[in-house]
């Protein structure tokens, strides 16, 4: 009994130090959660810039948003991001990691930094760079299209079917229906390397590596390797990559702001941009909080299964 008490005290003593070291992190986490709860609470008020006090307004801000064409356009654009950014970036990242895994080892040290380089850039730099590329009248994209690709007879035929000729080049960032894909492409350029890195880490897990090596000794080809060994053992990597990219898609702001400011009109605007505009350009702070809460809720839908899976995996449950 006494011995048990001593052991318990020792265990507590051990944890005491852990708590001391964790305290700063816990402090910041508490602030974060406090601010999150504060934002959610303020979304149920009529808080505007300069208002002396905020009054409870129930679901008014949410009802207001649900009646706005602009809000639904933002939601639609975020969905476009989920579909056209997450899926291609994941697949491309996986494909690159796979190529690197099966390529000659000497090439990898050169290829990896090449694909990772865009990830190291700031989104502002990426945004400016790609907005120059996609400038419909002076950008490199249309220059290459007009001066090189449209000079190739086969490509010219194909592009003509798509309505692209030298006299009718794509409007890119000025096209309300397609500008969003230009931004998505810029984000893909930046994030594919990141996805590749995560997949590469998964490939390097010793168990999977052993399985791959064993299968290769047995004479398995690249496709067989992919189908029977790699894909079944990479589920967790796919989950992590898609979750992280999906979270990014839901809160994307900087690259959109730098490339188009949400324009032309509201064509490329996403929820995070509208949140910024509502709060700081239109002084509607409660409305900004409501949009932030919606983004948070949508993100939570993705985070919860991700965290569940991560905990299960880490603790071997």
């Amino acid at each position: 009994m006494v011995l048990e008490g001593v052991r318990k005290a020792m265990r507590l003593g051990k944890y005491k130090y852990s708590f001391i070291f964790l305290a700063p992190a816990l402090f910041f986490i508490l602030i974060l959660y406090f601010m999150t709860i504060w934002t959610i609470a303020m979304s149920f008020t009529d808080w505007t810039f300069g208002s002396k006090e905020a009054h409870f307004a129930g679901l008014d801000r949410y009802l207001e948003l649900s009646a706005e064409e602009r809000f639904w356009r933002n939601v639609y654009n975020n969905i476009l991001w989920l579909v056209f950014f997450v899926i291609p970036s994941t697949l491309l990242g996986f494909f690159l990691a796979f190529l690197m895994e099966i390529s000659a080892e000497k090439l990898e040290p050169y290829l990896r930094p090449l694909f990772l380089y865009p990830t190291a850039l700031s989104f502002v730099v990426t945004g400016v760079l790609w907005s120059w590329i996609f400038d419909p009248r002076r950008g490199v994209f249309n220059f290459v299209l007009a001066n090189y690709l449209l000079e190739v007879p086969v490509l010219r035929e194909v592009l003509q079917v798509m309505g692209i000729t030298k006299n009718s080049l794509p409007l890119l960032l000025d096209d309300p229906d397609r500008a969003i894909f230009c931004i998505v492409m810029a984000a893909m350029w930046q994030y594919t390397g990141f996805a590749m890195l995560l997949f590469l880490a998964a490939f390097r897990e010793s168990l999977l590596r052993q399985l791959i090596e064993a299968a290769m000794i047995d004479g398995a080809g690249a496709l067989q390797l992919l189908k029977h060994i790699i894909l079944p053992n990479m589920k967790h990597a796919f989950l992590i990559v898609t979750c992280l990219l999906a979270i990014f898609s839901l809160k994307v702001f900087d690259v959109v702001w730098v490339m188009t400011r949400g324009g032309p009109g509201y064509a490329t605007e996403v929820l995070a941009v509208y949140m910024y505009v509502a709060a700081f350009a239109q002084d509607l702070l409660a409305k900004g909080c409501a949009i932030a809460t919606i983004i948070f809720s949508l993100t939570a839908v993705i985070i919860v299964p991700y965290v569940y899976y991560a905990i299960k995996r880490w603790f071997g449950l």
Binding site: G50, K52, P136, R137, G263, F280
Partner: protein
């Protein structure tokens, strides 16, 4: 004896150390007076202009530490984010820059600004600046903020003079003439964009569209002015066809420009990038405030040789749409005395003049030197003095609530795409209601 000597040495040493320590503390450690300032003058011309103020301030008050915070973003778009956060958090700067008029009022209504009537009195600003400009800083019986010493003209059509000379066309003074000039440019120089506009800087649209509202607002100057002011203060009932007619005409005109490829708005360009197109001869014209002059001059271009600007509408329909930036002092700012030194310094005629020279504008004070090196400003100052009745506020920026600006400009940008006049009118009606334009802008009609 020995102990007395030692005591003396110790006392002297203590005195020397104390004096030296005090000096060192004062020199290196004592809190010095500071000026914490936020502004958005970062583009070509603007940066050089505000450096004039900083130069004089540092010369005159070398002991004051200037903490300068630049927040790039035209039309005060991004500075508000920073300043609003600081104001809401109860941590205001000493001085910040924003647009006067409607923008200033929202800070005043929120109780965030300190009145600076004493600065206006001591510097004789009341006597020496245009009445309208003073009105843009005057709310509820007090002056809040001091104009950043420029009377911007916001309806100038800048054009590449080489292109105009080569084609032998005269700068247009009416929308009809503009259409004709565009037709000639498009016909004779198909690779040159007749008019360029940034839709990425959505507010740039207002510089083109506001003058059109004025032009189509009536048959006489009085009618035009009345319609324009009523429009941007929410007093026009746009649900009535006869009252919406000028707006419809303005939209129809824009539609013609867009459909013919005369007006080239782009989401890939910022306002200064459109200026660059004009400077490089890739575009012929663009509508800006006179602040664009600062950009062209900073690029080393010569007014009357490489580029020029005319008011639009001009000629018999000429109007001066005024835009004013103001430096303001928040209530409870940490160094109010230093802030007032800044406000007084920028109100001095000579300094105001030197600032205006760089900024591309004209100095607000009538006792400031009036010798400007270019014909654009000479013409502006002449018109300002001779026709004060035709000097009216730039509606979207000075009169309507700031929240309306973004939505209004984006409604016009969307119109560039859908080109449905009726839809655009109903969108604007909804925005006027949403942002309570009439209610907010009542201040303008009160003395």
């Amino acid at each position: 004896m020995f102990s007395k000597k030692l005591l003396g040495v110790i006392v002297i040493a203590i005195i020397v150390l104390a004096v030296g320590g005090y000096y060192a503390y004062q020199q290196y450690f004592a809190p010095k007076p500071e000026l914490i300032i936020y502004h958005y003058y970062t583009a070509g011309g603007e940066r050089e202009a505000i450096d004039v103020y900083f130069k004089y301030f540092k010369e005159r008050y070398p002991d004051i530490v200037v903490r300068e915070n630049e927040v790039p973003g035209g039309a005060a778009r991004d500075i508000r984010v920073v300043v609003m956060s600081r104001l809401e958090a109860g941590n205001p700067p000493d001085i910040f820059l924003d647009l006067a008029g409607a923008n200033l009022k929202r800070y005043v209504d929120a109780g965030y600004l300190a009145p600076v009537d004493d600065v206006w009195e001591e510097t004789d600003l009341i006597e020496h600046v245009p009445k309208l400009l003073a009105k843009m800083c005057y709310f509820y019986g007090h002056y809040y903020g001091v104009p950043a010493n420029n009377v911007h003209r916001e309806n100038l059509l800048f054009y590449n003079k080489h292109i105009f000379d080569e084609l032998g066309v005269k700068p247009p003074t009416t929308p009809e003439e503009l259409l004709e000039v565009c037709r000639i440019i498009k016909e004779k120089k198909p690779n040159v964009y007749p008019i360029v506009m940034s839709t990425k800087d959505y507010w740039h649209v207002a510089f083109f569209f506001d003058p059109l509202i004025y032009y189509y607002g009536g048959k006489t100057m009085d009618e035009r002015t009345e319609y324009y002011l009523n429009f941007f203060t929410g007093r026009v009932d746009l649900t009535k066809p006869e009252e919406a007619e000028p707006l419809r005409k303005a939209l129809e005109f824009v539609k013609v420009l867009i459909e013919n490829g005369y007006l080239v708005p782009s989401n890939a360009w910022t306002w200064d990038e459109t200026c660059a197109l004009i400077a490089e001869g890739k575009a012929a014209m663009g509508m800006y405030g006179d602040w664009a002059l600062g950009y062209f001059l900073a690029r080393g271009l010569k007014c009357d040789v490489d580029f020029h600007a005319v008011p639009l509408p001009g000629g018999d329909y000429e109007v001066y749409l005024i835009g004013v930036d103001a430096f303001v002092m928040p209530e409870g700012c940490p160094h109010p005395d230093v802030a007032k030194l800044w406000l007084k310094l920028i109100s001095e005629p000579q300094i105001a003049y030197e600032f205006a020279i760089k900024k591309g504008s004209i100095a607000a004070r009538d006792d400031a030197p009036a010798e400007y090196p270019d014909s654009i400003r000479r013409e502006n100052i002449r018109f300002l003095k001779e026709h004060p009745e035709l000097v009216i506020p730039h509606g979207t920026f000075m009169l309507a609530p700031p929240a309306f600006l973004e939505d209004f400009c984006k409604a016009i940008i969307s119109f560039f795409d859908h080109k449905d006049v009726s839809k655009a009118v109903s969108d604007i009606v909804a925005l006027m209601e949403k942002h309570k334009v009439r209610e907010f802008s009542e201040w303008f009609w009160k003395e």
